[in-house]
């Protein structure tokens, strides 16, 4: 176990115009679990493969522990990698798959068996040891894949999209297992994923990447609640954050042109807006309250879509090209065509510069609501009672 440091790590493929990974700086503490999160092609897998030594480094440094590993052979870096497509050795039994690395490093058979049995117990794959990979289900393959990465007790454990090929039920199950396993074993772990839920659930910190560049590196809640820019805001959250362009005709109002959308803003917010005439407004569906009664600052609209999804209802109101979705407690009340009012929770407003996409911020706003299990305040949504 060790810390992992990436310093201005860059990868340029010869044919490509722009770098696959661009000046990436990242420090992973000993025992920390971080996620590289981003859409496909954002450079997250390339980063992971550079750390593993499967991809050469164009410039920059990779340090594991305090050792520079740029030019080290993959087998000498002390990393374990769980491949996205499992990459198990098809002709070998599970046991031999797990023992491959230990044998290559010349461990005694007795020690190999002990280690294999131990990791098999941890990942609950004891009864699979004498099977070949093709006989395994995808969930089992993934467990073996992880076991193979962990059996060598790596300094850094690398997980490449470990859950992406599993069905929903297995995904949730294995996600919990990984989280628990990390809590117990505290491997320094880097997970690559495009699934923001996975990143949020598992990681101590999330590094959001796009087009080879690091967008934000922070704790899940911070990334979720205070996205550094429009990209991060749009990428995290399901259903996605409503992000749309508004103009500021005069102080104190945000407007979608040619529609009924007129949002009154407080001086505090106006201060962030400054003298801009245009900006991107982002608000998560849970930050909007829907009602049939007008209150101060409510935006009128007509219901376009209603989705009843069991534990929640989603109501969509259209303003020209913009469909604003809100998520509210289950209710039978709303039907398309109904006139309603949308109340925007000020704390949940995210303002982005329309050209750079950067978050407008004075450094302090808004405060992060933090609570613990003893009591909770700031409930965005009233508890559902039936």
């Amino acid at each position: 176990m060790a810390e992992l440091i990436l310093k201005t790590l860059t990868k340029v493929y010869t044919q490509a115009q722009s770098p696959a990974v661009d000046q990436l700086n990242l420090g992973v503490r000993d025992g920390e679990f971080i996620a590289l999160l981003g859409p496909s092609g954002c450079g997250k897998s390339t980063t992971l493969r550079m750390v593993a030594g499967l991809e050469s480094v164009t410039s920059g440094e990779i340090r594991i522990g305090s050792k520079l590993v740029n030019d080290l052979h993959p087998k000498d870096r002390g990393v374990g990698l769980a491949f996205e497509n499992y990459a198990l050795y098809p002709p070998l039994k599970v046991r031999d798959n797990l023992a491959f690395n230990l044998r290559a490093h010349g461990l005694a058979t007795k020690e190999i068996n002990r280690r294999v049995d131990e990791i098999a117990r941890t990942l609950q794959i004891q009864e699979l040891l004498d099977l070949k990979p093709a006989a395994l289900s995808s969930g089992q393959k993934q467990r073996v894949n992880m076991a193979r990465a962990m059996v060598r007790r790596p300094a850094v454990l690398l997980l490449d999209e470990p859950l992406s090929h599993l069905d929903a039920r297995l995904r949730v199950e294995l996600r919990t297992e990984i989280k628990r396993l990390h809590a117990e074993q505290r491997f320094t772990t880097v997970i690559v994923t495009h699934d923001q839920l996975e990143a949020m659930a598992l990681a101590d910190r999330i590094a959001v990447m796009n087009e080879g560049k690091l967008q934000q590196f922070d704790t899940p809640l911070e990334v979720f609640n205070h996205p550094a820019n429009e990209f991060v805001a749009g990428f995290l959250g399901e259903p996605p954050m409503n992000i749309f362009r508004t103009v500021v005709p005069d102080s104190g109002r945000l407007v979608i042109p040619d529609t009924d959308f007129v949002l009154l803003i407080t001086p505090a917010v106006q201060k962030l807006v400054g003298s801009r005439k245009e900006l991107k407004l982002g608000i998560r569906p849970w930050g909007i309250r829907v009602s049939q009664t007008q209150t101060d600052g409510a935006v009128p609209g007509v219901v376009a879509v209603v989705e009843d999804l069991g534990d929640e209802t989603r109501v969509g109101v259209r303003y020209g090209e913009v469909l604003i979705m809100s998520s509210i407690p289950v209710t039978r009340r709303y039907r398309p065509g109904l006139s309603v009012f949308l109340h925007f929770n000020e704390e949940d407003l995210n303002l982005f510069d329309p050209t750079t996409g950067e978050r407008l911020s004075d450094g302090s706003y808004p405060p992060t609501p933090v609570t613990n299990e003893a009591g909770h305040k700031n409930e965005v949504q009233a508890p559902v009672t039936r």
Partner: protein, 275 residues
């Protein structure tokens, strides 16, 4: 991979290239030699190896001889054989790829097995029948028997190409209001066109190369492959002309081979290995 910087790895790399070059010499030198001979005048044939006065005389002689007649015979028979195979084989390949029916695999294997029956075994009875039916020494007779070479190959290659097309596309076109044969003509055929071209060319090459069939089932209507060999057996050997004849016969194939390189693996293995 990125990790081969040790001296041992460098030696290995050098050895690898050396061995490859050795094989390249073995594989290519004979062809080069054929070309050298073909541009060597008869007078210098026995006295020189690499240094001589190049000439196109051998080619001129061959091109003005009756060899060209045999060259065109070969062309006619091979092209016609491929065309017949295409007309008959494309629907068959489609049926074997898509439809589910009784005896499907048996039919497919029967067709394939023709390719692997000893040619002499086929020729012996055909020789008699061809003479009875007046097919001996005719274009038609050769075109028909060439089907043994071209048809199994074409059907098995194209079957793979048809199988590569998602069945959804076919279903979509049917739902769009087209009968199954219209779907076949308007949607599927354009999609397998690359495969069609590759398979057709490969069939042509094999038909062109055929030796045993024209040797034994034809006499005056002869192909260049057979005739080239006879040149060498004749009493007054003009080696340069033999080499030129061989080069002329080999040239179309070398060009075609380069064209279909991408699909060659599939073709050579009857679809067993997808390259």
């Amino acid at each position: 991979m990125t990790h081969s910087r040790s001296p041992l790895a460098k030696i290995g790399k050098g050895l690898q290239i050396l061995l490859l070059l050795a094989y390249a010499v073995f594989a290519l030198f004979p062809l080069l030699w054929m070309f050298i001979m073909s541009i060597k005048p008869d007078s210098q044939m026995l006295t020189t190896t690499f240094i001589f006065t190049p000439t196109l005389e051998n080619y001129a002689t061959v091109l003005h001889s009756d060899y060209m007649q045999f060259f065109f015979n070969n062309l006619i028979v091979s092209v016609a054989a491929v065309l017949v195979s295409l007309v008959v084989g494309v629907p068959a390949a489609y049926a074997l790829a898509r439809f589910q029916f009784k005896g499907k695999e048996d039919i497919a294997f029967t067709i394939l097995s023709f390719r692997f029956a000893p040619e002499i075994l086929v020729i012996l009875p055909l020789y008699l029948i061809y003479q009875r039916l007046g097919l001996y020494d005719t274009y038609f007779g050769l075109i028909w028997v060439y089907q043994l070479i071209t048809l199994p190959l074409l059907i098995w290659i194209l079957r793979g190409f048809f199988e590569d097309i998602s069945p959804d596309i076919e279903a979509a076109a049917q739902l769009d209001g087209y009968a199954w044969w219209q779907v076949f003509l308007r949607v599927l055929l354009p999609l397998v066109k690359p495969g069609l071209v590759a398979a057709g060319l490969l069939c042509f090459i094999f038909a062109w190369n055929s030796f045993t069939f024209p040797l034994l089932l034809s006499n005056n209507v002869q192909t260049s492959t057979v005739i080239a060999l006879r040149y060498l057996a004749s009493d007054t050997v003009h080696y340069g002309q033999v080499a030129a004849a061989a080069a002329i016969s080999a040239l179309p194939e070398v060009i075609l081979a380069l064209l279909i390189q991408k699909h060659l693996v599939r073709g050579l293995s009857f679809g067993a290995v997808k390259g």
